[in-house]
Amino acid sequence: MTSPLLVWRCDGCGDVRFPRPALCGRCAARAFTAVEANDGVLEQATETVGADGAPLRLGTVRTAAGPVVIARLLAGDPGDAVRLHVRDRAIEAAS
């Protein structure tokens, strides 16, 4: 079961951030609206060992909505357009 990645748009000035802020540093608003971030561009990727001891590919993804996130990379190489979703609280990206 996956769900969309949500990023947060300030209700006061429209600034979009991830994770969700508590106070907008630009306009002092404290209300934010969730915005789906379903697409992005994979900027860097690396391979490491995950907490379970298995290989883990991680990527830096610049979402079309604006914020840059760290995702588990299912497929893709730097420069690729990727789709984003969340599975069990983990952001995943795939080209």
Partner: protein
């Protein structure tokens, strides 16, 4: 009535660092040596180095990831100290310079006369794992679910961004661990002391490409401490000419290698009354080679931002004194002590106590960097230190 030496009606006085000590770093802590024991060893050593006793101390600052559930006040009690000034700092690698800033101002204001600052950790494998996975809320909520085991992967990607942006190769950047390891051969306290060449760094087991084993700090148990006191006016001591800081400059939205250090430098050098080229040695926070390079560059030590030339000619061939202890990359990172390791080495160099690796050192730069909030560090600070006496 204020005397000529007093800076405030409360007996404030110019501050000086008069003692420094590092409790030996080890990858194999002895059973029963907890974090408090390492901090106590560092504090005792720094006081002895300063020629002072616990009864002389009236201020304590501590930075540690593993002192919990104890805090600075508990440590004061365990160390037998009664204090007028007390500080817990949780700024990771920036804690030491942050505490130094507050300690110097406290002495100048007359809030305390003799402050001990200490930092250290003994983190076993399980405690280290918990620390990195629950480092802050963002890590617990958005990185740990990925299977994240620590910031190596983040700085691997940051390193790739930096190499791409500045036309550097991995071999160019390898100059940092190679040059620092050369210094470590003269530091009995470093856990890695065997010389390295560029091929050794590039060919070492990958941690997270492009980073290999020698691009990552060895985790050790240990602690560091310094003593900041009202300037005694004699003896070998160190004065802080200027300190600057900047935290969360980019809200985690930037590239991570355009750091807060550029802005810190804009105020630091004028406040210190010296230029970057005047420093004899630099002790920058080297959690990763890329960050060490980013700091020296943004703080003005790389003429014309010609990084390749600086790495090969100045650092490698010229043996310019960068992190003469070997840095954390060779000496080890004892948790929160990482930020104080460079400060202790700077004080030793300035006071002529760096046997085996001593350089002529009258002016030094020390930096702190840390607290990876999500993608890269958020805390940046730097101090310009000078030798007195």
């Amino acid at each position: 009535m204020m005397t000529a030496h007093e800076l405030s009606a409360f007996g404030g006085c110019g501050a000086a660092i008069v003692g420094a000590h590092e409790a030996a770093y080890t990858r194999h802590p002895r059973e029963g040596d907890d974090t408090t024991a390492y901090l106590a060893e560092a504090v005792a050593g720094a006081l002895a180095d300063a020629g002072l006793a616990p009864a002389d101390v009236d201020g304590l600052g501590v930075a540690s990831f593993s002192l919990a559930p104890d805090h600075a006040i508990d440590l004061a009690w365990r160390l037998g100290l009664t204090v007028r000034w007390l500080m817990d700092d949780h700024s990771g690698g920036a804690s030491a310079v942050n505490m130094l800033q507050h300690a110097v101002r406290a002495v100048e204001a007359g809030d305390a006369r003799t402050i001990v600052l200490c930092a250290g950790d003994n983190l076993d494998r399980a405690a280290f794992r918990t620390l990195v996975e629950r480092y802050n809320r963002a890590t617990a909520e958005h990185l740990a679910p990925l299977g994240y085991t620590g910031p190596n992967a983040l700085f691997a990607m940051l390193t790739q961004r930096y190499l791409d942006a500045h036309g550097l190769t991995r071999a160019d950047l390898a100059a940092i661990p190679v040059a620092q390891r050369r210094w470590a051969t003269g530091n009995p306290g470093a856990v890695y002391r065997e010389p390295l060449c560029v091929e050794d760094v590039l060919g070492a087991p990958a941690v997270a490409p492009p980073l290999t084993r020698y691009d990552c700090v060895p985790v050790v148990a240990g602690a560091d401490a310094v003593v900041v006191t009202a300037d005694p006016g004699r003896g070998r001591r160190v004065r802080v000419r200027a300190i600057g800081a900047l935290h969360n400059p980019d809200h985690q939205a930037g590239d991570g290698w355009s750091t807060g250090f550029a802005q810190v430098g804009e105020r630091l050098w004028p406040a210190a009354g010296v230029r970057p080229e005047d420093v004899d040695a630099a002790f920058v926070y080297d959690d990763y080679p890329v960050m060490a390079l980013a700091q020296v560059d943004e703080l003005g030590l790389v003429p014309g931002h010609d990084r390749v030339r600086w790495l090969h000619e100045t650092l490698l061939e010229g043996r310019w004194p960068l992190n003469t202890s070997g840095g954390q990359l060779s000496a080890g990172q004892a948790g929160a002590a990482g930020g104080m390791h460079g400060l202790v080495e700077a004080v030793r160099q300035l006071r002529g106590d760096a046997e085996g690796r001593q350089v002529a050192c009258e002016l030094a730069l020390v930096t702190g960097y840390g607290m990876v909030l999500y993608r890269h560090g958020a805390c940046h600070n730097a101090a310009v230190l000078e030798r007195l006496g």
